[in-house]
Amino acid sequence: MNRADCQSWTPLLSAFIDGELVSAQRLELERHLSTCAKCAARADDLRATSTLIRVGMEMRADEADFSDFADKVFARITPERLPWLERWKLSLSELLTYHRTAMVSSLVAAGIAVLIAVPLALRARQPAGYASPELAVQLVSTVPDAHLAPVVMKGDQGTIIWLVNHRHTLVMAPQAEPTTNGSQEADGGEAAGQNPSLKQQRPRGGEL
């Protein structure tokens, strides 16, 4: 057997040991191995090596723990539960994609509701009963038996109501009418409240 023949068969030895050669090639190689001691020894070495590797792999496999193998596999293939924010985003995007009309109408309704609710809430914050910018006196009255005349004076900081006793001035000056709020009434009341005696001392003209 020449050296060139051995070199052509050597690459096929591994496939031969693994049983991967077609029958014609396998028969030819077996015929060569029966005549070539060197290639036969090489084939035996390869076979022994393969056996050793297989036995070693089987030993490693026996040592491995496969008790939770199935759980680990299922844990990997089951989809992970998203955080709530991601779920909401996903749900919103789904709604805006597949239920756009309903969502737009809902958002418009919510906007209108906010437009109504915000002024109401702001109004509720304002103290109740103080919608008017300024305090105003509407009516002042006294009972006749009290002999009091209310004098209303409007000032910068509010309205002064002064009760003037006219029991002793009835004869000398006309009774002050109950006045209502207003600058004119205030001025008249102030004058009456301050200097009723001026009216008494005012000179009266005689008959012409």
Binding site: R87, L95, A117, P127, A136, V137, H168
Partner: protein
């Protein structure tokens, strides 16, 4: 796509419904009630005390109107919450009482009545109807006392600092007047 259990649209609608239900219930349940601030001021010419100093503006206002009081002392001050149909009574040290009544709240404006009565018979002396406002005060003369004049000030509630211990220690309740009789010459007949 799998449907998720929580739907934002439904949650928003539910929240809005609850909000409006609560607001409507509150609006229906709330009865008219307003807060006012009241102060009882003793104005006199006894000295030149202005107590507290904030009453300087009141002195100036009265001075502009011809009242030459030199002393203004706050005897009491408190915030009152007026409910419709439940008048608040302020007992005055001069045998009188001021009854403050919330008549109505129209368009957000409170209509309040101040009724001054003589004790013990509660004979009504005067009545003042006013509408509350965010600015301005009512300075209601309520009679004389201790050589001066008592003034009941009604203001928006947030302008009053409660002060209850300012009544003079010398003040004692006066003996009640005969029923139905008014104290004569208790008011000013001219400027102070």
């Amino acid at each position: 796509m799998t449907s998720l259990p929580i739907r934002p649209g439904r949650a928003v609608c539910a929240a809005l419904s609850l909000f409006f239900l609560a607001g409507t219930r509150q609006a229906i349940a709330a009865e008219p009630a307003v807060q006012i601030g009241t102060q009882l001021i003793l104005a006199s010419n006894r000295d030149s005390t202005i107590d507290p100093p904030e009453l300087v503006s009141m002195r100036d206002q009265f001075s502009q109107k011809g009242f030459a009081f030199t002393s203004f002392r706050r005897l009491s001050g408190e915030k009152l919450t007026l409910h419709k149909g439940k008048p608040a009574e302020i007992a005055l040290p001069n045998q009188r009482t001021a009854s403050i009544r919330l008549n109505d709240v129209k368009h957000g404006t409170a209509h309040v009545e101040v009724i001054l009565s003589q004790l013990p018979s509660k004979v009504v002396i005067s009545s003042t109807v006013l509408t509350l406002g965010r600015e301005g005060s009512l300075f209601q003369h309520v009679g004389d006392y201790d050589g001066g004049q008592l003034i009941l000030v009604i203001s928006p509630a947030d302008t009053v600092k409660p002060r209850r211990a300012a009544l003079p220690t010398s003040w004692r309740p006066e003996p009640p007047l005969p029923r139905g009789e008014l104290s004569s010459c208790s008011e000013m007949t001219c400027c102070p």
